[in-house]
């Protein structure tokens, strides 16, 4: 069980700056994120897209913003738990007990949800029956490529993940690559490599085709695909892999007893606290009258939620408002003063 003053869920820009504010006022915090990297939507959805409305930063990309926020956290020692999704939040006397999908447990008086639009999960095949085969013969990521050796694999998708795995698995498996159009969005070099392997007969390529159904008894046996002109084909497959990028899902947050409004969490505008004492929501995931889904709003919300956490983390101390320009205790925490 990890004890901390504040647990932050979400390592996007709002979560990162909230951590800065928490450490600055002398509290400890740990951050959990379902992605395997820091930056949230800025990194996952638009790393190269310029942003023009961060105060005092005329122009920066999602990736640059993330890098700068990480730099700003350098004076502080913050533990990140990446690739972990928070599944459960339960009250135990005065503390919240937080459990992740990998069984990590936290005990904390304060939980700040900086979860954006929820956690990023792989997009799945639209065909409902695929659920029966999921994690047995249908996968959305590759954990152990050995299971595919000398088997017949159907890979769906047109981006780098689909193409890279088609190239890699074609060495020891029979690979069918299925994509909804002729063009691929993967790196040109990989696209060329795939076309070369198709010529050599190492990869069977089906473009303008999509999955219509899956067949098999316990283990996947074959897949029906159909093209734009309604031509159908049945391809034999022991395994299917789908690479359709990630989608944001509110997921387990919906089960924590919080007041929700569509996909957002209702908060007050003093502490950004939810209807549960000690659980706060900041950034895109929170809602209140006048809410703007801007990164700058997330920074403000995080700064206020951090101050609210102080009261529950240090019940016997009084929070004192100070400026970084003048306060020697803040400058010490920032490493600017002995």
């Amino acid at each position: 069980m990890i004890k901390t003053d504040v647990l932050i869920i979400g390592a996007g820009p709002t979560g990162l700056f909230t951590a800065h504010q928490i450490k600055l006022i002398g509290l400890d915090c740990e951050i959990v994120d379902n992605l395997d990297k820091v930056g949230g939507q800025c990194i996952e959805l638009y790393p190269d897209k310029p942003i023009y409305d961060i105060p005092a930063v005329p122009e920066c990309t999602g990736e640059e913003l993330t890098k700068n926020l990480i730099n700003q956290l350098k004076p502080f020692d913050i533990k990140f738990h990446l690739g972990e999704r928070v599944d459960e939040v339960k009250k135990d006397n005065i503390n919240w007990i937080v459990k992740t999908n990998n069984g990590k447990m936290f005990s904390t008086p304060n939980v700040i949800i900086a979860g954006g639009v929820g956690s990023f999960e792989p997009r799945k095949f639209p065909v409902k029956e695929c659920e029966k085969f999921e994690n047995k013969s249908i996968f959305y990521s590759v954990k152990d490529k050995k299971i595919f050796e000398r088997k017949t694999i159907a890979i769906f998708g047109g981006g780098d993940s689909a193409l890279d795995w088609a190239v890699e698995l074609s060495k020891n498996s029979k690979v069918n690559l299925i994509h909804r159009r002729d063009e691929f969005r993967g790196a040109q070099a990989t696209v060329n490599r795939v076309h070369a392997l198709v010529k050599e007969g190492k990869i069977n390529l089906f473009t303008k085709y999509q999955m219509t159904s899956v067949k098999g008894n316990g283990q996947l046996e074959s897949i029906d695909i159909k093209n734009d002109d309604d031509e159908k084909k049945n391809i034999k497959a022991d395994y299917a892999l789908g690479f359709f990028g990630l989608i944001m899902q509110l997921g387990p947050i919906a089960n924590w007893g919080l007041n929700l409004d569509k996909k957002t969490i209702e908060v007050d505008t003093e502490k950004f606290e939810t209807n549960q004492k000690g659980i706060y929501a900041v950034g895109d995931i929170c809602s209140y009258p006048g809410k703007l889904k801007l990164i700058l709003s997330g920074f403000h919300e995080g700064a206020l939620a951090a101050r609210a956490c102080f009261k529950l983390a240090r019940p016997n101390e009084k929070y004192r408002f100070e400026f970084t320009t003048t306060s020697s205790s803040l400058l010490k925490r920032l490493g600017k003063k002995e």
């Binding site: 939507q41 959805l45 638009y46 897209k49 998708g157 159009r181 944001m248």
Partner: protein, 106 residues
């Protein structure tokens, strides 16, 4: 202004007068038309505002920008007439547009 007709997957018809300059996505979200999530808020980064444009309208719409087709690869059950509604900007020319909303966005 343009009248846009949104038809949900359970055949509910929503006729909305949408102001010029807004996107077809915004017209739906601002008027609580169900089935268009628009998670990324119109940034062509999530493919959760996917719609099917009725055939007679498809060719009249502005061409897809780079990247829209890439995002449609990830949409739920994309078809020939698929578009991202955040990329369709409403003008008088779009008066009468009919779009079908898929059964799911993810």
């Amino acid at each position: 202004m343009a009248k846009i007709t949104y038809i949900t997957s359970d055949a509910q018809v929503h006729e909305i007068e949408v102001q010029n300059g807004l996107t077809v996505m915004e017209g739906a979200v601002q008027n609580n038309v169900p089935g268009i999530d628009a998670d990324c808020g119109g940034g062509m980064a999530c493919a959760t505002c996917h719609v099917y444009v009725q055939d007679d309208w498809y060719d009249k719409l502005s061409a897809k920008e780079d990247g829209e087709e890439d995002m449609l690869d990830m949409a739920f059950e994309p078809k020939k007439n698929s578009r991202l509604s955040c990329q369709l900007i409403v003008s008088d020319d779009l008066d009468g547009l009919v779009v079908n909303i898929p059964s799911k966005q993810s």
